[in-house]
């Protein structure tokens, strides 16, 4: 399944398929840090404001969050530092207990799972990549990657075979016996990614996986990540504070501000129809042509058969160079190469002029 065809709730791609049951659902989740956060929260009624909670000496890190993540979707949570992204994702993986709310994973209430059920779930269904890599310093790359399998009690032979495959997948073959401190930041995070994939999880959490890396390496890792996802097709919750990264990677973006979600939508949606002034501030600097997909501007495929084609998940900015030589019309194709529509020159020029 190509990511553009993913069953997203909004946006052009999603409407065409009947959306199945979402993989991960999060309803009315609160996380309030501080003494007796739960009692205070309950006492304050259904939706107390952040200020009333702060006044009570509590830190409302996550406030009444509702999200749904579909199967095979890349769901990006974006927000500034301290907006509660990590706290939310830690609630989703139940590393911390939410103060209130409900989290359903494949229709099953995570918060009701017992400790041993949680251990089973995490062993087989969840993987996580950490901002600061969290590699075990006393283990080699191979052992680090095999660690989740070791914990599960997988035999040594199978472990090393699967670890080798993962290391190959992230492009670190040959470095198996190195120790984490002998690797560059980018390489360390590749190890972190390989490890999180070793147990073949269905749900993949990435908490600012590339924030600690240099811009160039970050870009490279983002490409790598997209390549991996095109092969693996996991359900992904990806955290970032970098709006450009969010736009590049996301099927849908949730924008967080002081613990609450401001807007959820596809990158195009967010850029073209920002719901609040806060979201508008982020989107102001983004050039539309990089966000808007060719599918949004294309017309029906009637008359003529243009020589050039463009994939339907390309952005207008990607398609623009095709018109440089004076071409009037380009065919838009889906993943199987079938023509789904035509993109006309004037629409593209309009969009490019808007920035």
């Amino acid at each position: 399944m190509d990511r553009v065809d993913a069953p997203v709730a909004t946006g052009p791609g999603g409407d065409r398929m009947s959306a199945p049951e979402p993989k991960l659902v999060c309803r009315g989740v609160w996380k309030v840090f501080g003494h007796r956060g739960d009692e205070t929260l309950r006492a304050m009624g259904p939706d107390p404001s952040g200020d009333t909670l702060s006044a009570a000496g509590l830190v409302p890190a996550v406030r009444n969050v509702d999200i749904e993540v579909g199967e095979g979707e890349i769901f990006v949570i974006m927000g500034l530092s301290g907006s509660g992204k990590s706290t939310l994702v830690r609630c989703l993986s139940r590393l911390i207990e939410p103060t209130a709310g409900e989290i359903l994973f494949q229709g099953r209430n995570l918060l009701a799972a017992s400790d041993s059920e949680m251990i089973e779930l995490r062993r087989h269904a969840m993987g996580m990549v950490f901002q600061h890599f969290a590699l075990l310093p006393h283990m080699t790359v191979a052992d680090n990657v095999a660690f989740p399998l070791e914990v599960q009690g997988v035999s040594r032979a199978e472990r090393s075979e699967r670890a080798a495959r993962m290391i190959e997948l992230v492009g670190l073959a040959g470095r198996e016996t190195a120790f984490p401190r002998e690797l560059s930041g980018g390489q360390q995070q590749r190890v972190g990614i390989a490890r999180s994939l070793a147990a073949d999880p269905e749900l993949w959490f990435l908490d600012e996986p590339f924030s600690a890396l240099d811009p160039l390496i970050r870009r490279e890792m983002q490409d790598e990540f997209m390549r991996l996802q095109s092969v693996l097709k996991k359900t992904i919750v990806f955290i970032t504070h970098d709006f450009d990264e969010a736009i590049r990677l996301a099927d849908r973006i949730a924008i967080m501000k002081s613990g609450a979600i401001e807007q959820v939508g596809s990158p195009e949606d967010i850029v073209l129809n920002p719901a609040t002034s806060y979201v508008r501030e982020f989107t102001g600097a983004v050039s539309r042509s990089k966000v808007v997909k060719v599918t949004r501007l294309m017309g029906p495929a009637n008359g003529g058969s243009p020589v050039k084609t463009v994939q339907e998940n390309a952005s207008i900015a990607d398609a623009a160079p095709l018109f440089n030589d004076g071409t009037d019309c380009v065919a838009v194709t889906d993943a199987q190469g079938r023509v789904t529509g035509h993109l006309a020159r004037p629409a593209v020029i309009d969009m490019m002029l808007q920035g």
Binding site: R90, S93, L95, M118, I119, E120, L121, R122, R123, H124, M126, G127, M128, F130, Q131, H132, F133, A134, L136, P137, H138, M139, T140, F147, P148, E150, V151, Q152, T177, F179, R195, S196, A199, F205
Partner: protein
């Protein structure tokens, strides 16, 4: 010796202006009471005997009851303790047999591992941990022991260490884990560890002796009590410092709690834990030497009996052997700690994967076989031994003949002009006044709770009826600390800024700190015979290392940009030193003072052997009379003094840190 824990300032701490307004009248009251109060309030000076609760009798009676009547249902308490002793005795006897005594196995007398075997294995260990240089060092140390004829005693000592160290590490680790896992346990452990580390060792030798009987196993148990606390503390600290990311990782890959502990937490904390292991080894060695008094035997016993016979030659030789053993063990364990970060991954057969294990076994077998043919390989021939005993005895005699007057006049001068007057002064102070002043200091530095603690502990000391002994302890300790600081501060200031000098000095003080406290007594006694002055010299020598170390650490950790700023403002080097460096290094220097006091106190108790009249003597007498109550009460007094000093200084250091903007008012440097 003590990893100390700062007390949190609770309640309002008075501002400096108010505290001045408090101090002046308080000082006046104190002086008035001191000068004219003796006739009016005699009880304020001499704590009345009738007010002393008979705690020591209670303790002694409790011990008697434990030993004679206490029953745990199926078996008596005595049977339990003896059973524990018997269990520990098994591995000890094996180690002893291997290293020193030999054993009869199935009716055949098997000789112990010979000196060549042990030295070679130590060399191999050294090579494994730190390469050729360490290998040379460790085998040289053991060769030295053999050549100077200390082999048998050294192996007895080593056997005790070999048993005490793994037990100490294990218990320390598990206690630390428990303290980490359950906050309540952790909080309860801290004061217990404080006590374990501040009660002088002699004080619990007696109860242990009574519970476990005279002999090496008791020594091992005493060593456990002494060497375990740092491991426990370091375990708790190291586990708390494991990045929370790694814990999250553990949870996310689905670790069970046990996997979390053993696969994630402990391996990640390994580096710090190895520091704890090094501490356990060095403290164990120190204690095994001291525990020769309750039958550990070995080198400590040689030093002790030499001291008693005033046979300096024999004492110095045994002392050097202790030094050699200490250096070898210290460097080995440090090298292992550094190595902890570099695990090896070699594939192949058993020999390829464990070359050192194989080499060690091979060496042992070969040396045993050759030893059968050539006895010189088995036990170092007496004819080859070098004895320096007579040399040292002669040297001491020479010094005493030629420099007797000079040494004696130095000693007398110091005694008459410094030691005795200061002692008189302290003994003459009213305990009520001292308690009041200490309470006031506590309050000013750390709030009401600290004030109550320091005042209360002082009253407690007085209420044991050991006020005078306590004051003698304070006087000896105080003077020694002042002298140690007076020597240590300038040395620290002088070497702090010169890397090469500091490297040399650090090697010296590192080595000094690995030496068991017993060793320091020897030269002091040789030169000045017994008495307070000798004790002071030994204490100063022992306590010098932390004074220098912390001064240097403090001076070196000053932010270089501040010094540049000072230079840019046109400060002279002297101004930079006094206005910037020393000022900013003050908190560290105060912690150094704290450590110096702790070192001094722990050494002071040992100097009871050279005839002081302080609390240490009281403990020591209790030891010789096997009176657990008397020893523990006096020991608790020493602990009280240590805790008062520690808490006051920690609070002071915290305050100065706050004033310098290096810490904020609320958060306390949890150490």
């Amino acid at each position: 010796m003590t990893g100390t824990v700062a007390s949190r300032p609770v309640g309002p701490v008075p501002a400096i202006a108010t505290s001045l307004r408090l101090w002046i009248p308080a000082g006046l009251v104190f002086v008035v009471l001191w000068l004219w109060g003796r006739d009016v309030l005699p009880w304020a000076f001499d704590y009345p005997r009738s007010w002393v609760p008979p705690v020591r009798d209670w303790i002694s009676d409790a011990m008697k009851w434990l030993m004679n009547d206490a029953s745990l249902g199926l078996f008596t308490f005595r049977e339990m303790t003896r059973a524990i002793a018997a269990v520990i005795d098994v591995p000890y006897q094996i180690a002893l047999g291997l290293l020193s005594g030999g054993a009869t196995v199935l009716g055949v007398l098997v000789s112990p591992i010979g000196w060549v075997g042990v030295t070679a294995v130590m060399g191999l260990l050294g090579h494994f941990a730190g390469g050729w240089r360490l290998a040379a060092l460790t085998s040289a140390c053991f060769g030295f022991i053999a050549i100077f004829g200390q082999w048998t005693s050294a192996m007895v000592t080593l056997a005790s260490v070999l048993i005490a160290v793994p037990l100490g590490i294990l218990f320390g680790l598990f206690l630390g884990l428990a303290g980490y896992r359950w906050r309540g346990v952790g909080r309860a452990l801290i004061p217990i560890l404080d006590l374990m580390q501040t009660i002088p060792v002699f004080a619990y030798l007696v109860p242990i002796l009574i519970l476990f009987g005279f002999g090496p196993t008791s020594a091992v148990i005493a060593t456990l009590i002494y060497a375990m606390p740092p491991m426990t503390r370091i375990t708790m600290l190291a586990l708390r410092r494991v990045p929370s990311d790694l814990q999250d990782l553990g949870h996310m890959v689905g670790c069970t709690p046990r996997q979390m502990t053993w696969r994630v937490m402990i391996p990640s904390a390994k580096e710090s834990l190895m520091v704890g292991v090094n501490q356990v080894i060095m403290l164990s060695l120190n204690m095994v030497i001291i525990a020769s008094m309750i039958g550990a035997g070995g080198l400590g016993f040689d030093v002790l009996s030499a001291l008693r016979r005033l046979d300096f030659g024999a004492g110095v030789e045994a002392g050097f052997a202790i030094v050699a053993l200490a250096i070898a063990l210290d460097r080995l364990s440090q090298a292992f700690a550094d190595r902890a970060q570099v695990p090896l991954h070699v594939h192949g057969g058993f020999i390829a994967r464990h070359p050192y294990l194989f080499g060690g076994l091979l060496t042992l077998i070969l040396s045993a076989l050759i030893g059968l043919a050539y006895p010189a390989v088995q036990s170092y021939p007496e004819a080859w031994q070098i004895s320096t005993g007579t040399f040292w005895s002669d040297l001491v005699r020479y010094i005493n003949i030629n420099y007797f007057d000079a040494l004696e006049s130095v000693k007398n001068f110091m005694l008459l002009n410094l030691l005795i007057p200061f002692k008189r002064l302290l003994i003459g102070l009213p305990w009520v006044g001292v308690a009041g002043l200490l309470a006031l200091s506590g309050w000013c530095l750390g709030g009401v709770r600290l004030g109550l603690l320091t005042g209360g502990l002082t009253v407690l000391i007085a209420s044991t009826g050991l006020w005078e002994e306590a004051m003698i302890t304070v006087y000896l300790c105080g003077l020694s600390v002042v002298i140690a600081m007076l020597i240590g501060l300038p040395i620290g200031i002088a070497v702090a800024m010169q890397d090469s000098l500091w490297r040399g000095v650090r090697l010296v003080i590192d080595t000094m700190q690995t030496l068991p406290s017993f060793v320091y007594l020897m030269p002091a006694v040789m030169l000045f015979r017994v008495g307070d002055f000798t004790a002071m010299i030994a204490v100063v020598a022992y306590a010098l290392a932390p004074a220098i170390r912390y001064t240097v650490l403090g001076l070196r950790s000053v932010d270089p940009s501040l010094i540049e700023a000072g230079r840019a403002m046109g400060c002279t080097p002297f101004q930079i030193l006094t206005r910037i460096r020393l000022k900013l290094a003050l908190p560290e220097i105060m912690l150094g003072l704290n450590q110096t006091i702790m070192f001094a106190l722990s050494m002071l108790v040992i100097t009871a052997l050279v005839g002081t009249r302080d609390l240490g003597q009281e403990v020591y007498i209790a030891l010789t009379k096997a009176d657990p109550g008397r020893g523990l009460v006096a020991g608790l007094c020493v602990a009280a003094i240590a805790i008062i000093a520690d808490r006051l200084i920690q609070a002071g250091a915290h305050r100065s840190r706050v004033r310098l903007g290096l810490a904020d008012e609320r958060a306390n440097g949890d150490s």
